[in-house]
């Protein structure tokens, strides 16, 4: 890899040991990729929290030890200076207000708060959400970013036209201290072209169907770049947030085009930019049914836990849930957690949505989700969710079967304790 003079100085330790370790990691990583150089970034979204039991031993050694090992891949503990470029914290494992409802020991919640205080002072903005683009970090087309969180990466590349690969805890830790990331993959314009053409033969409009479409596409194209054409209605932030999260769970999709809607292609030809179409796929009734079957692994219709808000709910989604619950009471056998970014929770509170949900017996959570925290209400046997991503991951992470459906089906399950969803 070729380094600029400024990069070489950091690599040589002239800017201190933390930047040296950061450059060492970026060099090893860049060489592993086969990158030829680094690119400057002013937008880093990473995971700097220390809220799991497995990092307890590191926390005991101090937060510099946590950052050195987990964010720089350095066993040597180096003093960590202020972040060099704008950096934010993605989702964490603990809701700073509702950890007891999650079932998390006070000690771990305390550990997270101390970590936030430490890293917050170093300049890591505590958005604490998987959707930074909902709360003020909205990169501009062409902007080079270093983001983690597969559902945010696919949104950043595809919907916003900014440029990031799916980075990890260590590479974002290094990028935050150096303002650099390997110039590889989706930073390079040619790699952003389409590979697979997907004809959508059936009407795709509601959030569930966008999720099914994403889940089906991801499993087939894996890490490639699908180009969608056909019968989709005009999507919104909410629908593309859901679609992307699904495609990045069943596969590793980081970039897609919907010609005429996403910013880098007005036509299918634009999207492929002259490169060959690897495969042409069709999404019809059978494919929709298959994705639905793959996401629904529960058989018992008694639901004891309903989870809404992965990726974190927008304010409109919280409003809809509040409306569906207004004046009603949850089944005595069922718990409901509604997840939204902390900044949007403020709005939800001001609007009265939080009260409507909590009056019905639900909990409005921020900062976390069950997949990240690995906590569901104690004794949960069957989960219902409107998220394809949670339906994909929760059976593996928590070992609990899941029903996947619409937000209305999920709210009904929370009110009755029974799953009555199905694909029409």
């Amino acid at each position: 890899m070729k380094l600029t003079a400024a990069e070489q100085a950091m690599y040589d330790g002239k800017e201190g040991p933390a930047k040296q370790k950061a450059m060492d990691l970026l060099m090893r990583y860049g060489e592993a990729l086969g990158a030829e150089r680094l690119v400057e970034t002013n937008n880093v979204a990473g995971a700097f929290n220390a809220s799991t039991p497995s990092v307890r031993a590191l926390v005991a050694k101090g937060f510099d030890a946590v950052y050195s090992e987990l964010n720089l891949d350095s066993a040597d503990v180096v003093p960590v200076p202020k972040m060099a470029v704008p950096t934010c914290q993605l989702i964490t494992g603990i809701d700073n207000d509702n950890w007891r409802i999650q079932g998390i020991p006070d000690e771990l919640a305390d550990q997270q708060k101390k970590a936030e205080k430490h890293f917050g002072a170093l300049g890591i903005n505590m958005f604490a959400t998987c959707t930074p683009y909902q709360v003020g970090n909205v990169p501009v087309k062409g902007e080079h970013c270093a983001w983690m969180e597969s559902s945010a990466v696919i949104y950043c590349n595809s919907v916003l036209g900014a440029r990031t690969n799916t980075e990890g805890k260590e590479s974002t830790g290094a990028a935050a201290l150096t303002g650099r990331i390997p110039y590889w993959g989706y930073h390079i314009p040619e790699n952003r072209r389409g590979t697979h053409l997907v004809h959508v033969d059936i009407d795709v409009d509601d959030i569930r169907d966008w999720g099914l479409l994403g889940y089906w596409i991801g499993e087939i194209v894996q890490e490639d770049v699908p180009v969608l054409t056909g019968n989709m209605r005009q999507p919104s932030l909410i629908k593309l947030k859901h679609f992307g999260a699904a495609a990045a769970s069943s596969g590793g999709v980081e970039m897609y085009h919907i010609p005429g809607i996403t910013p880098e292609a007005n036509t299918v030809d634009d999207a492929f930019g002259g490169s060959k179409i690897v495969e042409t796929l069709r999404f019809g009734a059978a494919e929709r049914k298959l994705a639905y079957a793959n996401l629904n692994c529960a058989t018992d219709r008694d639901v004891d836990f309903v989870m809404l808000g992965c990726p974190h709910n927008s304010i409109d989604q919280v409003a809809l849930i509040a409306l569906l619950l207004e004046g009603k009471t949850l089944s005595a056998n069922t718990q409901l957690w509604v997840h939204t970014p902390r900044a949007l929770r403020e709005v939800a509170e001001r609007n009265g949505y939080v009260k409507m949900i909590t009056d019905a017996g639900g909990v409005v959570m921020s900062d976390t989700c069950p997949a990240i925290s690995r906590y569901a209400p104690k004794g949960t046997r069957v989960i219902a969710t409107d998220s394809a991503k949670q339906a994909h991951y929760l059976p593996a992470i928590l070992g609990i079967p899941v029903w996947f459906g619409t937000v209305r089906e999920c709210v009904e399950a929370a009110l009755t304790g029974k799953w009555n969803g199905g694909l029409q």
């Binding site: 592993a32 990729l33 969180e149 990890g168 260590e170």
Partner: protein, 151 residues
């Protein structure tokens, strides 16, 4: 499959991802691997619900796989398998992505990619594999047919 006698090694040439030399028994999957939400970092097992290797541990194995998928927590989880001593002894993968690269780097086990033959067809679970990542060489000694028949 390759028609090579059980004693002579098949040699594949590729590119170093992470340097070093290691040898051991191959564990081969045709499914991509999720780190976060796909593996248990304390046991080194695959936990994804519809995965070919569900419940199988890659600890001390030469892990042969198509590549990484899913969450950006991939590297952090393979990083923790190393801290917990349950990481694969080496990695051989096909599709280069940032997740696969960073995951290999922080696992600090020898890793290679861009091989001149498809490792997923040449190598089978149980074969003895030597990875010389610095030279980009993979030597595969097929498991004797008798051992396969005994299963």
């Amino acid at each position: 499959m390759t028609d090579t006698g059980s004693n002579s090694a098949i040699v594949l040439h590729g590119r170093k991802v992470v340097g070093g030399v290691a040898e051991g028994e191959a564990l081969v999957t045709h499914d991509t691997i999720s780190g976060w939400g796909g593996i248990n970092e304390r046991e080194g097992t695959v936990i994804e619900r519809r995965h070919e290797l569900r419940g199988v541990s890659f600890k001390d194995k030469i892990l042969v796989f198509p590549g990484a998928k899913g969450s950006s927590g991939y590297s952090a989880y393979f990083h923790m398998t190393r801290l917990n001593g349950v990481n694969p002894r080496a990695m051989i993968f096909v599709k280069m992505t940032t997740k696969a690269a960073l995951g290999a780097v922080v696992t600090r086990a020898p890793a290679v990619t861009d091989l001149d033959q498809d490792p997923l067809s040449v190598i089978e679970t149980g074969d003895w594999v030597k990875v010389d990542a610095d030279r980009g060489i993979v030597e595969v000694t097929k498991r004797p047919a008798s051992a396969q028949a005994a299963e």
